[in-house]
Assembly symmetry: C2
Homo-oligomer: 233 residues x 2
């Protein structure tokens, strides 16, 4: 690892500044959860699972490379599995961070909100919504005009992110389908670097809900199924 | 009153079917609130205030006639202040009811959700958002695509309602400004009759937040200020 400066200590990743102007993400074995149970939706560190940092990185690299081949702009530059690090472009987040969710089926918070109108697991046509990263306010949903009026992003950026999110979700869903699994929803994050919007953060099992034959697959099981026997290496 | 059939008993209004195919809204003196305090945002009947039904009707008629003169489509046909009734077109609601909120300043639930990005009372450019009427789920916010994907309204209907809401809000804000008051936000409801979208329900002090010199005006005080000494008649 070349000389680095710690910029930010995150829940599951640390961010360092590299001398070449890029950032280095160091994936940790800490996962979010409550009472010792892994819950990707939780806002606090719940437990440590040996090797999970490397699995998160491995899946992220797999998808970032697939997206790159499809012409999708991402922050991904290179990775080092031994050191569990990923080199990325120094993108800025929108506001204090916006989460972009794409839903192929109605589960989770969508179902909790709109259960009066839709059944659990009913199909959705690549529905895209955005929430603000704000633990204290429960990551509130925000509409396009809200993001504009709050000065978080422009309407053009919203439309661009929505279109890219749909393309990315279709690619990831396609990869999962090849292995007999179905993507129900996924949470992505975008940033911008030199006025160009791009996918940032990681793409790992904690960011998506995946099912097989109608049964939810836990994040660690998803790795085993996705990468096969080599999962635990 | 001609012969009528009770169709629906609401919290603050009863709805009757008239022989001419129209509906008759009977305004009651019950208001929503908690612990005996009038709170227009509450979902239950809190208390009864003598004459409030007539005040709600009187303000509604005032604004419906003003909107009609401006070419805005509403369900309003006629009114009878003595009997506290309003005759309206038999419009259907979208889904199980959608509330349309227009915000000129950041207060209430907008501030609770987005207070990390905006100060209390900061101006908003006629921001329009929609929520589903669902007491059990806390009237959840819903984006344009959500309304479409849930089969509640079309994109064209959403855009039409958003544009009408802005026109209506400007007209109401103008009337209040003439009396030295400022409209911060307002909650409207739309329906459709013979494929035409129109403003329905009532337009009364319980549906809006109004301020004078930066101080919130309680619903009953608003009537007194708006109609002057004749308010209590």
């Amino acid at each position: 690892m070349e000389e680095t400066t710690l910029l930010y200590e995150g829940k599951t990743k640390n961010v360092y500044a590299l001398e070449n102007g890029h950032y280095l993400l160091k994936f940790k074995d800490d996962v979010t959860g409550e009472n010792g149970v892994f819950d990707p939706g939780a806002n606090q560190i719940g437990l440590s699972i040996e090797g999970v940092g490397r699995m998160n990185l491995r899946m992220s690299v797999f998808f970032f490379e697939k997206l790159k081949a499809a012409g999708i702009k991402t922050h991904y530059v290179a990775s080092n599995l031994e050191e569990t690090t990923m080199e990325v472009l120094p993108a800025k987040v929108f506001g204090k961070g916006v989460e972009v969710i794409c839903r192929r089926r109605a589960v989770g918070s969508f179902l909790r909100r709109y259960g009066d109108y839709i059944a659990e697991g009913a199909p959705l046509p690549l529905y895209v919504e955005m929430t603000l990263k704000d633990d204290g306010r429960g990551d509130p949903l925000v509409i396009r005009d809200g993001l504009i009026d709050l000065g978080i992003m422009s309407g053009e950026q919203y439309d661009d992110i929505k279109a890219e999110t749909r393309k990315i979700t279709e690619i990831i869903a396609g990869s999962l389908l090849e292995k007999g699994m179905e993507l129900y929803d996924i949470k992505l994050e975008f940033g911008y670097h030199q006025d160009e919007t791009m996918l940032i953060d990681e793409i790992s099992s904690g960011n998506m809900r995946v099912y097989r034959d109608g049964t939810y697959i836990e994040p660690m099981e998803l790795y085993a199924l996705f990468f096969g026997q080599a999962a635990g290496r």
